[in-house]
């Protein structure tokens, strides 16, 4: 049944989209402008690293935990990385309890890919004994308040948490969480830029209202050395090659700005 609310919503959705196609955003931002960003590191003491981020009204807490386990058989001298995202129902009326759905999985995988493919973590330095014991790095993305663009916020918080994390000591087969000192072997600072698509128009950092009206979105993750390390199109949208190339330019430029301001 198409109920009244749904019709109201379809009208509103079209209005938001029309405005954006005319170059306007309801909060007055420019097409390629981020909402205000606030980051607090070491938010959670039990984690090896953590960062709370507020991007507009989106709030996320990312924690980095480490433990020791076996390496994968095809990379016996490398530590491992697992990234997990929980869209806990505290953060939005539409999030449900239960195991991660396809949206949570996609979020975790896009963040993971940006970090992994940027090669910001030197996994060889996380090997303890080749073929036997390596450090596992576990990134948990805990969304607290959902107001759009989780990927960019979670990537930024995760990179910040990795840069500020301290490794626990490992002694006699036990991880000593009470004694953390060394930094993680990290270099590079990948930054994800997500563009919402309305027809052929793209805007950076969509708010929840914009996400509800958009056709889809494209995330481009870049690194300090001007390279692209991950791209993801999501939702029911198409893009032409010239427009994609344009967004890459924007992502490279905005990535540098974010790096300078928040990961400096």
């Amino acid at each position: 049944m198409v109920d009244e609310n749904e019709i109201v919503w379809l009208v509103k959705k079209d209005a938001v989209a029309d405005m954006i196609k005319n170059g306007k955003r309801s909060d007055g931002r420019k097409a390629y402008e981020y909402r205000p960003i606030e980051i607090i590191t070491d938010y959670v003491k039990r984690a090896e690293g953590s960062a709370y981020i507020k991007l507009g009204n989106t709030q996320i807490l990312v924690g980095v935990k480490m433990d020791v386990g076996q390496p994968y058989s095809d990379s016996p001298n490398m530590g491992t990385l697992i990234t997990n995202a929980e869209l806990v129902p505290l953060a939005s009326p539409v999030f449900q309890p239960g195991p991660p759905n396809e949206n949570a999985i996609e979020l975790a995988r896009v963040v993971d890919r940006g970090i992994r493919e940027s090669k910001m973590i030197d996994f060889e330095k996380l090997c303890i004994t080749e073929g036997e014991e390596v450090w596992n790095v576990l990134i948990d993305i805990h969304v607290l308040d959902f107001d759009g663009n989780l990927i960019d916020a979670a990537t930024l918080a995760a990179v910040k948490a990795l840069w500020t994390a301290k490794m626990p000591r490992y002694e006699d087969g036990k991880v000593i969480y009470e004694d953390k000192k060394d930094s993680l072997p990290v270099s590079k600072k990948p930054v994800a830029c997500t563009f919402a698509r309305f027809g052929n128009v793209s805007i950076l950092d969509p708010s929840l209202e914009e996400e509800k009206s958009m056709d889809g979105k494209i995330t481009i993750t870049t690194t300090d050395d001007g390279k692209i390390c991950a791209v993801q199109k999501s939702g029911i949208t198409k893009i032409s090659v010239p427009e994609l190339e344009n967004l890459i330019d924007v992502a490279l430029e905005k990535g540098n700005e974010i790096r300078k301001t928040y990961l400096g």
Binding site: E86, L90, P99, D140, L144, D145, D147
Partner: protein, 244 residues
């Protein structure tokens, strides 16, 4: 309870391991209205605990066959963030979190006027972001404020606090080490006006007199925390009145 501590002194020269007196709470602060999406919310710090509570509802209870035609259905989900403890917590409900959620839900169901909102659900979510000891009391205290912030009509606020026993001494509000190596823990929640208990658990090893003393201390703790709750609500209300 029950880990061996081997030489560790938890209570010495009238002081506890973190310097507190036997009847002293850890530092507590609370703030309501911290989340945009939720209908009500509260952030609470209590010693090393960091807790976020959110309330959604009353809203249509789905799926429909779970609706109660005579009253609102209360759901309570206590959840520990994976990075909230030294050993990473596996996401998803554990037996422990299911029990805590059940008892906390029942405590709140006692004070919410559920009969005002038939067929709806009132959903309470508590995230333990950082865990020291006493997270169930911290969660319930925060949830009570989040309900108030959401404007859910209640007979009474609920305030929760625990007392316990360390080195044979009954003390208020166990910290993490005290909880690991202590001899008993008694978490309660009460309704401030009548001082009747709506949450009650105990485990450990207490004589009847120790039990009474622990109850007395826990109630005293609740009294203090109730003051902090009222202040947090007042502050939020003033903010609202002043157009914040």
């Amino acid at each position: 309870m029950g880990m061996k501590k081997e030489g560790l002194k938890l209570f010495e020269n009238g002081k506890r391991i973190d310097g507190r007196a036997y009847d002293e709470l850890r530092p507590i602060k609370m703030e309501v209205g911290v989340l945009k999406r939720a209908d009500g919310s509260c952030y609470l710090e209590w010693g090393g605990n960091k807790v976020l509570a959110a309330v959604y509802g009353p809203r249509e209870c789905l799926p429909r066959h779970t609706q109660d035609p005579l009253k609102a259905r209360i759901n309570y989900r206590y959840n520990m963030a994976p990075f909230s403890t030294d050993e990473r917590v596996r996401p998803g409900p554990s037996r422990r979190s299911i029990e805590i959620s059940k008892l906390s839900k029942e405590a709140l169901e006692h004070v919410i006027f559920t009969e005002y909102f038939p067929k709806t659900s009132i959903d309470i979510f508590v995230e333990i972001l950082q865990a020291d000891a006493g997270t169930r009391c911290a969660g319930l205290t925060a949830a009570s404020l989040a309900l108030a912030d959401a404007g859910i009509p209640m007979k009474s606020l609920i305030t929760a606090c625990a007392a316990g026993k360390i080195d044979g001494k009954v003390v208020l509000d166990l910290g993490k080490l005290e909880d690991n190596f202590g001899e008993a823990d008694l978490p309660i929640a009460y309704m401030p006006r009548t001082k009747e208990l709506v949450y009650l658990q105990m485990d450990g090893d207490l004589t009847k007199d120790e039990f009474k003393e622990a109850l007395r201390l826990a109630l005293k703790g609740c009294d203090e925390i109730y003051r902090i709750q009222r202040d947090a609500l007042k502050k939020a209300y003033e903010g609202e009145v002043n157009g914040r």
